[in-house]
Amino acid sequence: MVERVLIANRGEIAVRVLRACRSMGLEAVVAPSEADRESRAVLMADESICIGPAESARSYLSTASVISAALVSGCDAIHPGYGFLSEDDGFAEMTRAHDLTFIGPSAEVLERFASKAGTRELLAGHGLPMVPGSDGMLRDDEHALSEAARIGYPLLIKPSAGGGGKGMRMVRTPRELQQALTVCRSEARAAFGDDSLYLEKWLERTRHVEVQVIVDNYGSGVHVGERDCSVQRRHQKIVEEAPSPAIDDTTRVELAEAAVRAAVAAGYQNVGTLEFLVDGEGRYYFIEINARIQVEHPVTEMLSGIDIVAEQIRLASGEPLGYGQDAVRLRGHAIEFRINAEDVKGDFQPQAGVVERYVPPGGAGIRMETHLYSGYDVPPYYDSLLGKLIVWGPDRDSAIARSRVALRELLVEGIETNIPFHRAIVEDQTFLSGDFDTNLLDRKGAAAFLSALPTDDAA
């Protein structure tokens, strides 16, 4: 087992990993950028080591700085969190070359699953159904147009690298396709340093359902059920829940088993998530794998009681899984609300500044994962996630009832947040019905949600 872990990330996930390390009796060193010296993880940690300036490219994304920090602070492992270097096979390789344990899949596994197109091909070979799409990457506009004609419109243009909606566009006509290709290429190049794109058939009214898998280095794996992440705004997840209200129990089991079977067969290792689109008829299509811990992992932890971050560390240390699918029991319903520093009335513009007051909610089934504290100065350099409120209940209705209470209690003052928006979502009839797709928020519009709120809440 590793003994001393460098936490090469920031925000709420740095706090989450720090807690996992401590609960396992491991030492942890937090590696902040200069802008995060006063962050919660640093204040909580026994030790921290600053790796660079605020600019991510010279701190959280600097392979040499992160590994150097691990070495000079006497660590034997690096936890990359999510984003930043978490799925970078070159970083994983360099970590290993310095006799450090990378907490995640090995460099070979990351490389095998690095390309989305390559992963789709690989997992299709292991029985996962795919969304009809282009044959490999688009070589040029002409290739794009001919592939589009073959698949049929509407289509989604997607970048091979990265995620989070950057470089992605839905197009309905050849003309739209041609116009969007240029924009998507430059967005993808700017965001991921790679402008390769591919096409996928746009499926109307789909839901985003993903399966959590845990696989050891010896070919044993389990799934920990699915999460439904259909509440999105411009392809960004905002609310996640489990189990998915959209699929029946037969499909649920079939999907999860197909996912873990394919992942194990394809040689996947450590903790990972297989993302699917599910259409109105309950048909599922594989879209991509996330070879890292995900923001929404606590939803699954609430149902299973499994500490997924601890599992990452344990398996990366070379321990066998040690339990089978029968040991994984999922109970109740959990919902996660992503609390973002955003001005919901100002087109969700990211906010920065001092949090004058933070008061977390409490009660049965309530969990906050956050780096907030009263007086914390949210730096403007990074993403707007301030934390997550996760609410568990024995069933969906009780989880929603508890969510309403918790969202009322949760106070973040001093900067604008999307908490009012969440308060509106848990009152929305479509959300409550459970029958909605990933286009719910964008079709209805944020203003419509907010106007439905009692006036003092919408403020």
Partner: protein, 177 residues
């Protein structure tokens, strides 16, 4: 030497205290101040001609007249020294000082003060300002983080004449009398 309970009157060994005073203000004090600025010492004390002079760091030079009494009238809160430069680590790694990084040495702005080794790639540490190296805060082979203070550079003789005159006058027997 006799005790003076007030601590204000000097008890010089020689007849004319002003003789010692001239030497003190014109030769001894400036030399002491320069030495204090260049060195690592926080405080200096010297006895001469029945005077005891104590100088404290941070740009406040206090001459005191309580020769025999042992009391020393340290100045009020010392004024900030101007344009003090701190050389910081450009990266996280192991530090190795340059040969010129010695307390008391004069450096020019951008002079190399050392290097930080980041996985075998060396990054230079350079002097942020010209002046005298007054503090060295990291040793050879020490692990340093990004932004860590490695050395302090004090400016070269920033008009200390005014300061020392003032200090001498304040502490002179004439002023005290």
């Amino acid at each position: 030497m006799t005790d003076d309970p007030t601590g204000r009157r000097p008890a010089p060994d020689i007849d004319d205290p002003s003789v010692g005073l001239d030497e003190l203000t014109e030769e001894i004090l400036p030399a002491l101040i320069a030495r204090l600025r260049a060195g690592r010492l926080g405080e200096l004390e010297i006895r001469s001609h029945g005077w005891r002079v104590r100088l404290r760091r941070d740009g406040a030079a206090t001459a005191t007249s309580g020769a025999a009494s042992g009391t020393s009238a340290d100045g009020d809160s010392p004024p900030e020294i101007g344009a003090r430069g701190v050389a910081r680590s450009p990266a996280v790694g192991y530090f190795s000082p340059a040969s010129g990084l010695v307390i008391g040495h004069t450096v020019q702005a951008a002079d190399p003060l050392g290097r930080v080794d980041v996985l075998g790639i060396v990054q230079d540490v350079s002097a942020p300002t010209g002046g005298i190296v007054s503090e060295v805060l990291a040793e050879a082979g020490q692990a340093v983080e990004y932004g860590q203070a490695l050395a302090v550079i004090d400016p070269l003789v920033p008009e200390f004449d005014a300061g020392s005159d003032e200090a001498a006058e304040d502490g002179s027997p004439a002023a005290a009398a």
